[in-house]
Every structure is written in C-alpha cells, then in structure tokens.
Amino acid sequence: MKLTKTLLASTALTVAAAGAFAEGHGMADSMTLVSWGGAYQASQQKAYVEPYLAMNEGISSTWDESSAEAVAKLRAMNEAGNITWDLVDVEAADAIRLCDEGLAMEIDHDEMLAAAPDGTEASDDFGDSIVSDCFIPQIVFSTTVGYRTDLVGDTPPTSICALFDTETYPGKRALNKRPLANVEWALLCDGVAKDDIYDVLSTDEGQDRALAKLDTIKDQVVWWSAAAETPQLLADGEVVMGSTYNGRLFAAIAEQGQPIGMLWDAQMLDFDGWVVPEGLPEDRLARVMDFLNFATDTQRLADQAAYISYGPARASSAPLVGLHAELGIEMAPHMPTDPANAKNVFVTQYEFWADYRDDIDAKFQAWLAQ
C-alpha cells in the first residue's frame, strides 16, 4: 500500500515537473527521431537535423535506431499509452500498415509541407511517392544487384537474368530472405512479359512458377535478412553477385573501393519517409511539424543526396543534386532514378503486396524450408 502511494506520488511529481517545464514554450525542446542507423541516418543528421539545430538554439535531438521494428514498437507504445517517439522513418509499406492501424497521423501534405521553390504544391511535387495519407516521403531507393567485377570474367552481366545463369556466372548469389523482388525477377527471367508479371503472380500457378524458377538456383543462394550482409559477402568473395539496396553498393564501391559493379537492370524502386505517431502531446507535435516542414523542403532533400546515393522524393530536388560531400564525385549518375540507370525498373506495387503478401510469404517460407 505504502509502496503504491510512493510510486503514485513520485509519478505525479514527475508529470507535474515535466508539465511545468514545457509550459510557455508552445513547442517541446527535444525530439526523438527514429531511423535505420548507419550511413542513411548519418545523411539525415548532416542534411537536415544539424542545420535545424543550428537554426533553433536550445533544441536537442536523439536518434533511436529502431526503424526495423517500428511497427511492433509503435503498437506496444500505443497499448502502453506511452509514445516516446516523435518522428519515425519507415519504408512505404510499413507506413501504409501504420496508417491503416491508426498508429500514424494523417497529414495534409499541402498545408503542412513546404511548396517547391517555383510554387508547385507539395503534393504535386512529391507526386506518386505519397503512397499513404500518413506518409511523408524522403527518398527513392532501389533493391538492385551488385557483382564482383573480378569473378565474372570478360563479360560482366547486363541483365537481371544473370542471377539465374549459373553456367556463365558460376558461384553463390546473395538474395533477400523475403519474396519481394525475388519473385518478380524469377518470372521476368522465366519469360513472362514485364506488364503481365503481377497478373501472373496473383494466381497460384504463377506463384509456383516463380518458385520453380528460383528452385533452379536454390542450392547456390545465400539468403540475407539484413541489407549489410550482401556487401560483406561480396567483399569476402563468398558470393559472385547479390541483391541489396543501391546505397549499400554505392558505399562499398565508391567509399570502400571494393571490386564491385552495379547491375541496375530490373531494379525494384521503393520509397522511404517519415510518419508522425498518432497521439503526440500538443507541444511535441508542434515541434515535429516545424522540423518536418524544414527537413522535407526542396533544398534539404537535395542536400541529403550529397551523403548517400538515394534519390530525393521531390521532383524539384533532382536538378539541385550536386557532388558527394567527401569524395567530390557527381552524385546524379548514382541515383536509382537517373535516366541511364532507370531504363528498366519495377516500382513496388504496394496494393498488390498488401493483398498477396501473406499468401506469397507463407509459400516462400515453406519453399525455403524444403
């Protein structure tokens, strides 16, 4: 009894103190931002967090590298009634889920985000990348294939079907332990026309057909679950080629000088961006909105491309993309959206995957375990 009272009293005191502290500001003076860690988080820190903190004295920000389990953690926070995150970086598919479950806040993009310098409204500037009412896009990234230049002989691969051609390119391949991208590539190389792929994939026979194609290289595949594994495997020479995010391959090639080449063919484009958790107190929400308006404007998104090879989600940012901050190389040719790289691309079909994800996932995992 006494313990409960003490606990209650101390809790009340803490809450009161926090309330008194926040009063009068209108905006909270600290933010907890959630991201993926590594080079990507560093690019966000340099491109918009540091400039924002420099403009607003007395504000502090903390990173939580928990984007990988953002959906689960936000559910738990919601249930515990204790939202400790202010802004969460997630993939588009996760943003759709969070929005559907009511865990992320719906945003009026035109009202809350800055317009392009030429006056184009934010929603037009972001265009198709706004895949959900809760989603504030930052970058376009792609899942693509890298290969060891010294292990592929005189004819480096130019087509995605090199993945399935173990005669010309013998050796192990690293692939994602999830069906996304793998099944599309499998059907494409099994002779399905690109436009028909999702029609075929929505049937049982089509799904089996994709797995049957993957079966031809199954004993040659190393399955990865973290995107960092493929660059490590390529650097080791354990695999001759492997899929991962294009920024990881860029880092291994340009920053680490590894003998790796990029195969942009049939790259799978996807978006990554912010969501604001539902149920933030007013002062914290005001701070987050102020930050978001700054961090997603045309210049800031273009700045981010100086640190990592992901394309800005705003159309108006593309012409502003400049040189790499440290290496001084032109960044535009390394963007997944560069015309030379984007000759043959898939754009992740969120609606298709929302409908078929569970089915195909279950089949894929069962096939993996065989």
């Binding site: 590594g38 990988a68 926070m77 515990a80 973290a226 660059p231």
Partner: protein, 394 residues
Amino acid sequence: MAVETQAIRQPLSFSVPAVAAAGGFAGIFVGTAQGSALLGIFLGAILLAGLTWLAMAVLPERQERMLRWAMILGFALVGALVGGVPGFVLGGLFGWFFGWFVYWIGLGRYRTTLPPYLTAGQVLWHYGFRVLCGAIFVFLVTPILVVLPLSFNAENFFTFTPEMLRFDPAGYSLKHYRDFFGSSEWQQALRNSLLIAPVATLISVCLGTLAAIGLSQPHVPFRQAIMAILISPMIVPLIISAAGMYFFYSRIGLQGTYAGVVLAHAALGIPFVIITVTATLVGFDRSLTRAAANMGAGPVTTFFRVQMPLILPGVISGGLFAFITSFDEVVVVIFVGSANQQTLPWQMFTGLREQISPTILAVATILVVVSIGLLTTVELLRRRSEKLRGMSPG
C-alpha cells in the same frame, strides 16, 4: 615421479598408422582451406606415413636432429609456396610439430612420463583426455582471438584482406578504435553502461544479500515460495520479463528513464546474489552470531563485524555476476530504456544488424581486454587475502 618408464622403440606396424592418422587429421584443415578435404586427408596420411617409415626404418636414430630440421624447412617451404608469409609460418609450425611427433610415437617416448604399469588403453585415455580438453579450449577461445586482429582491419568489412595476411602494415589501422572513441553515440553508450551497471549492481548486492540472510533463517514462513519468486527473473524467459516490465513501467512513468533501467537490471541481478550468498551461508556457523549477541553486539554490528567478512567471497562473486548481467544485457534495456539510455550492448546490437561495421570488433576487443584485466585483478586480490588469512596453503 619415482618410477622411470623406459622409452621403448615401437614397431612400424604401430607407429606408421598412428602418425598417419594424425597426419590425416591435420590434412582435413589444410585440405579444406585448399578446396578438398578428402584429398587433404589422403595426402596428409601418405606424407606422414612415409616420413615415419623414413625416420624409423631407413635413417639411423642419431639423424633425428637433422630430419626434424629438414621437416621444419620442407613444410615451411611448401607452406610459403601455397600461402605466402602466413603459409611459411604455419608450415614451419606443422613441420616442427610432426618432426617431434614422429619420434615421440616411434621411439615410445610418450610413455616416459607415465607409470610403467598402465595398460595401452589407459595411456590412450591419458592423452586422449588432454587432447579433448585442449580442443574444447580452442573452440571456446578461437572466436574471441579471431576478433582481435580483425578489429585492426583497414577496411570496413569483417574480412582478412590480402594485405593483412601478408602482414603488410597498410592492411592494418586504428580507424575503428578512433571511430569508437570519436563517435558521440558510442561514447554516450559507454557512459550509460558505466552509469547503469554499477548502480544496478549495488542495489542487487544490498537487496540480494539481505534476502539470502533472511531466507536462511529457519523460522521465516513461506521460504521456498519467496525464494522461487525472487529467483524467477533468472528462469522466466528474458523477453517475457522485458515485455512485462515495459507495460508496468510505462504506466508508472518509469519507462525511458535511467531509474527504470537500473531497477530492471537490479531485478535481473538479484537472483545471482541470492544464490551465491545462500551457498556461502550454508557453511556459516550460526553459533558465531549468537556468541556476538552474547557479548552485547546488536544485529547490525554482528552483521558487519562477524557475518559480512565471512560471507564476503559469496557477496563479491554475486556482485560480479550482477554487474556482468547488467553490462551484457540487451533485451530488457531495449524495452525499458529509450534512445537516451542506449547501453553498449544495445549499440552493438543495432550496429551489427544495420551495418556490419568493425567498430563493433574494436569495442569487443576493448571489452575482452578489460574483462581479462578485471578478472585477473579480482583473482589476485582473492589469493592475496586468502594467503593473509592463512586459508590457502599456496
């Protein structure tokens, strides 16, 4: 040893197959490294059988020194041809070992340190047991040893680069150590760990020792049940404790605070203290406390002057376990802490998952060195105090 056993020259029918078997075993590793384990076994066995035959049947015994040097040089040269500098060193070591091994087996020297009445089976077990222990030791220690040189890698991968294998200084660098000491995230994590672990240990030791003393009194009711509840954090899967703590602490405002993480870690550490202190209390003579009371000492004085010094080893080792539990813990802190309370294990966990950076290896190396230093100090202090108290014959 009082009895000297004579070394007896063994027949070729014994020494050739025995050495060949060892050669085949070594061939597994060399062969696997070169691409074919089977071929390695085969060639290793043939090579060593031939060398044994040469040493035992062809060359006279006084040529031993010459043949052993020849083997060291020969193996080292072959190693250099295959694997450069490291191959040379490894080859030399192989040659040295097998040069010794051929004569050790062939001339029966392995019997000289053992009593003469042992049967062949007993001799085999004697050495088999030692080899087994050595193998277990190697399997336990190798993963830790591999980490040490990799942490000096000049590249951002967990790979022994060709430069490193050639012992080229350009392949080595301290950049991952600079990364660790220069990054505010890692430094914050280190500070958090060094702040949380000692406080949690202190709480665990105080509460755990008191609980152990209380529970060792025969008149306390429900002793078994209370003991079971207190020890449960050690038995219940960590993830369940963590999830439970998360929801409870969220409601009372402790989630995401230092106090919350410290309390959670203290709860995890208490069972270790209770168990070690209870174990030392078994050997504690209760008549000592009664004698102290008889002399007019209160319970508190009795505890600090009589009981505490005698159970101190148990308290210290319990505290050490509690400290390691908190310092190593990653599951509970992810739930109960927030980004401001990121500890070293948490930072290592996220770093390993999101980008496989050798900074983690540098941190691991530092932690290994610090742990070895700490354990050595504690052990030396313990021996010294035992010597001072005359408890140990050493």
